[in-house]
């Protein structure tokens, strides 16, 4: 079995766009968010991702529908769900192996946000794939925080298709950023040299050709012009669009609505200062642990 690439980052770190780009390399199969890292078996997954969390099943349902039947329709998604329910005893490792069987020699790339929620999730992935590659995407904590606030506002106002409207918990986006980054940094400490790499998403997106080629070099896959060109079209993925009504998401809703790269916009991606008040705690600045990590990542 091939060893996959996991893109690890806090939410709102451009993982959808960059994961979508990398996933279009001809030697890679880009998965939607399959959210397999937080449990050991499919039965546990069905249990944890139920009720309001059921939206996190969409990625796995869509990929199974696509791989089993070549299309993502309500019916094929329904059959994918039944297929999973019949295999609730399967381990997540078996699930990954099944997906790998379906895609052949392609390298799987996966970027579920649950991967960094707890360090155990990352460790579970490593146990499944001891030689997997881990690409850590960073984004400036100020823009990541603002993006998180905007998404939560959209969710609260019921403006996100496929997401159940209702109460959305108020959270400090800076704490989420710090928690995920801390998990990633602690996890990466014990990885072999070269197994883990980190890059600022802003840097990659301002000059995608340069940095996508380096990512390919790191992964040992083709860096030719055709491969890089393919990576600049994440919209060609079968998962870069809204899914059927029973599995609408599986990725960032904004990306699913508009997956084409706007190169002009990317060229203008900025990195604001670290100093100054943060939007989510009026009158307050970034906490020292956030400042420390942000500087380590090259911000400010």
């Amino acid at each position: 079995m091939q060893e996959p690439l996991f893109i690890i980052a806090p939410g709102r770190s451009y993982t959808s766009l960059i994961g979508g780009m990398i996933g279009q390399h001809p030697q890679i199969y880009g998965l939607p968010e399959v959210n397999l890292s937080h449990v050991d078996t499919l039965g546990e997954m069905l249990g944890t991702l139920s009720g309001p969390l059921e939206i996190f099943m969409a990625g796995l349902l869509r990929v199974l529908a696509q791989l089993h039947e070549g299309e993502q329709t309500e019916a094929s998604v329904q059959r994918a769900r039944q297929w999973i329910m019949q295999r609730s005893h399967w381990t997540t490792g078996q699930m990954f192996a099944h997906i790998q069987d379906q895609v052949g020699p392609l390298v799987l790339v996966e970027k579920s946000p649950l991967n960094t929620l707890k360090i155990e999730h990352l460790q579970r992935l490593l146990k499944l794939f001891p030689k997997a590659s881990f690409l850590h995407l960073t984004r400036h904590p100020r823009t990541a925080g603002k993006s998180s606030l905007e998404l939560r506002k959209s969710l609260r106002e019921g403006r996100v298709e496929g997401h159940p409207s209702g109460r959305v918990r108020e959270i400090d986006p800076e704490k989420i950023w710090l928690r995920s980054q801390t998990h990633i940094m602690e996890f990466s400490r014990d990885l072999a040299v070269g197994q883990y790499m980190r890059i600022k998403a802003e840097v990659l997106l301002r000059d995608p050709r340069t940095y996508l080629a380096q990512i390919c070099e790191w992964l040992g896959i083709s860096q030719d012009a055709a491969s890089i060109d393919a990576m600049l079209h994440p919209e060609t993925s079968p998962f870069a669009c809204m899914g059927p009504p029973n599995a609408r998401l599986g990725n960032d809703p904004n990306f699913l609505k508009n997956p084409k790269i706007n190169f002009d916009r990317l060229a203008r991606i900025s990195e604001p200062p670290l100093e100054g008040e943060v939007d989510w705690r009026p009158g307050e600045k970034f906490s020292q642990p956030v400042l420390k990590l942000a500087r380590q990542f090259g911000y400010g």
């Binding site: 040299v193 070269g194 790499m197 980190r198 890059i199 840097v203 990659l204 340069t210 940095y211 380096q214 990512i215 070099e217 790191w218 020292q288 400042l291 420390k292 500087r295 380590q296 990542f297 090259g298 400010g300």
Partner: protein
């Protein structure tokens, strides 16, 4: 193949050469067919804390004191500086009534200017009165040839004395005042040049901090392939590496070669040792002390080694793989930061000897055990590494050559008599910390003061 194995290194001096408070063999030079060694005491709290210049007679195997800092009576201003330098303990003690003018000699170079009768030995001193540059025309008499701190007596010392194109270059290191005492960060981030040091005339040759206020110091100077290189300390962004051909009139044109800690950002806080090998510049990096900058909350982190070519391109020799504006950088040695030892915080000394490249580390593992070992015996100590080609590295000395309190290899000097190694030994400090923090009453090491080894 490298010239040595660990067995080839012989201890030729220990316990600070009869002066156990001298913890640091700080600088070396080969002058008049002898090894000269500049020593440093860690503090400046009394008449015993005096920098010295020692000379080794390789035929007799003996050491001779060639210079010992004169003792001065400090006024209230200098006493306040001594108390600031000594920290909490010094505040509880009576103010010193006698002090060595210099408590250390951190840099040495052989240079001959127009006013020198022949090749002279120059030394940069560390002084509460403001750092001086000393000159000796005969290896026996050392006299200051500068005013304290080149006119700014809050400059603690001068480092990186580097001859280049008939001129002598240096940079200030450290700050001394009654409120600030920093061994490394200087009030002036500048490279100075003199074409005739005996005149006492030194000119600034670069823009202050290279025009970037986030540069907090110039930590390293070295020459390679026709350039003078200067490496900075930058706690916010990571070190920068600059170079100049030093042509025309000062200040010279400088070109930035590396920035943002070679894209590792502030975990490459400063440059460390730098030297030319096979036509390329090798640049060590690090964070002083225990790899953690307390003031700026950076680290802990281990050091790297980078190779810079004349065309400005560069390789990562050991360190953290990364994507950069200059391409994917994977360590050519296949080793991570600190050559896979997280305690190797600084690439602290480097030199070329008989066709091989050598470097020594600052290794703070003994401090970790002393503070967090819960009574367990200390482990660790400095390492010496060697490579025939700059990429394939062999560890020649591990664990402080058998002395666990030897936490750093501070200076290396290639000579016709062999490779000299000067160390940093912190026996008293480690014993104190072990008792305080881990309850270990006896760390099993008596010898205090630096060691000197000779490989041949």
């Amino acid at each position: 193949m490298t010239a040595f194995t660990a067995n080839h290194f012989e201890l030729i001096g220990q316990a600070g050469l009869g002066h156990p408070v001298s913890t640091l063999a700080h600088s070396m030079s080969w002058y008049r067919d002898h090894l000269y060694l500049g020593t440093t005491t860690p503090k400046s709290s009394g008449a015993d804390d005096r920098g010295r210049v020692m000379r080794y007679d390789h035929q007799m195997g003996t050491w001779e004191t060639m210079f010992e800092s004169p003792i001065l009576v400090p006024d209230a201003r200098i006493q306040a500086r001594a108390i600031a330098r000594g920290g909490t303990m010094a505040k509880k003690m009576p103010a010193p009534t006698e002090l060595g003018r210099e408590f250390g000699l951190r840099s040495m170079a052989v240079f001959q200017g127009p006013g020198d009768p022949g090749p002279c030995l120059y030394a940069g001193s560390m002084s509460l009165w403001g750092g001086l540059i000393l000159r000796s025309t005969d290896g026996r008499n050392f006299e200051p040839v500068t005013t304290p701190g080149l006119g700014d007596d809050t400059i603690l010392s001068f480092r990186g004395l580097t001859p280049f194109k008939g001129k002598l270059f240096t940079s200030p290191a450290g700050t001394v005042s009654d409120t600030v005492n920093d061994l490394n960060l200087s009030p002036k981030q500048m490279v100075y040049m003199s074409d005739d040091p005996v005149t006492g005339t030194w000119k600034p040759v670069c823009e202050e901090a290279f025009g970037d206020k986030t540069n907090r110091g110039i930590f390293s100077l070295a020459t390679a392939h026709g350039y003078l290189y200067a490496g900075t300390a930058n706690p916010k962004r990571g070190f920068q590496l600059w170079r100049t051909a030093a042509e025309g009139t000062a200040p010279y044109h400088w070109e930035r070669v590396l920035t943002d800690g070679a894209w590792r950002y502030n975990h490459n806080l400063s440059t460390g040792a730098m030297t030319e090998f096979n036509g390329d510049l090798y640049v060590g990096s690090g964070i002083s002390g225990m790899g953690y900058d307390r003031e700026n909350d950076v680290g802990p982190s281990a050091s790297e080694l980078i190779r810079v070519r004349r065309d400005g391109s560069w390789d990562l020799i050991f360190g953290e793989p990364r994507f950069t504006a200059d391409g994917l950088k994977i360590p050519l040695s296949a080793h991570g930061p600190g050559l896979d030892d997280p305690y190797n915080s600084v690439t602290w000394a480097m030199c070329v000897h008989e066709g091989a490249l050598y470097f020594g580390t600052h290794q703070w593992e003994p401090f970790d055990w002393a503070m967090h070992g819960k009574g367990a015996a200390l482990r660790g100590g400095y390492q010496l590494w060697a490579s025939p080609d700059g990429e394939d590295w062999t560890k020649l000395i591990d664990a402080g050559h058998g002395r666990v309190t030897a936490t750093g290899l501070r200076t290396l000097q290639s000579t016709p008599q062999g490779l000299f190694v000067g160390t940093c030994v912190h026996t008293k400090l480690l014993q104190f910390q072990a008792r305080m923090h881990s309850g270990l009453q006896d760390i099993g090491e008596e010898s205090a003061g630096f060691d000197v080894l000779l490989g041949r």
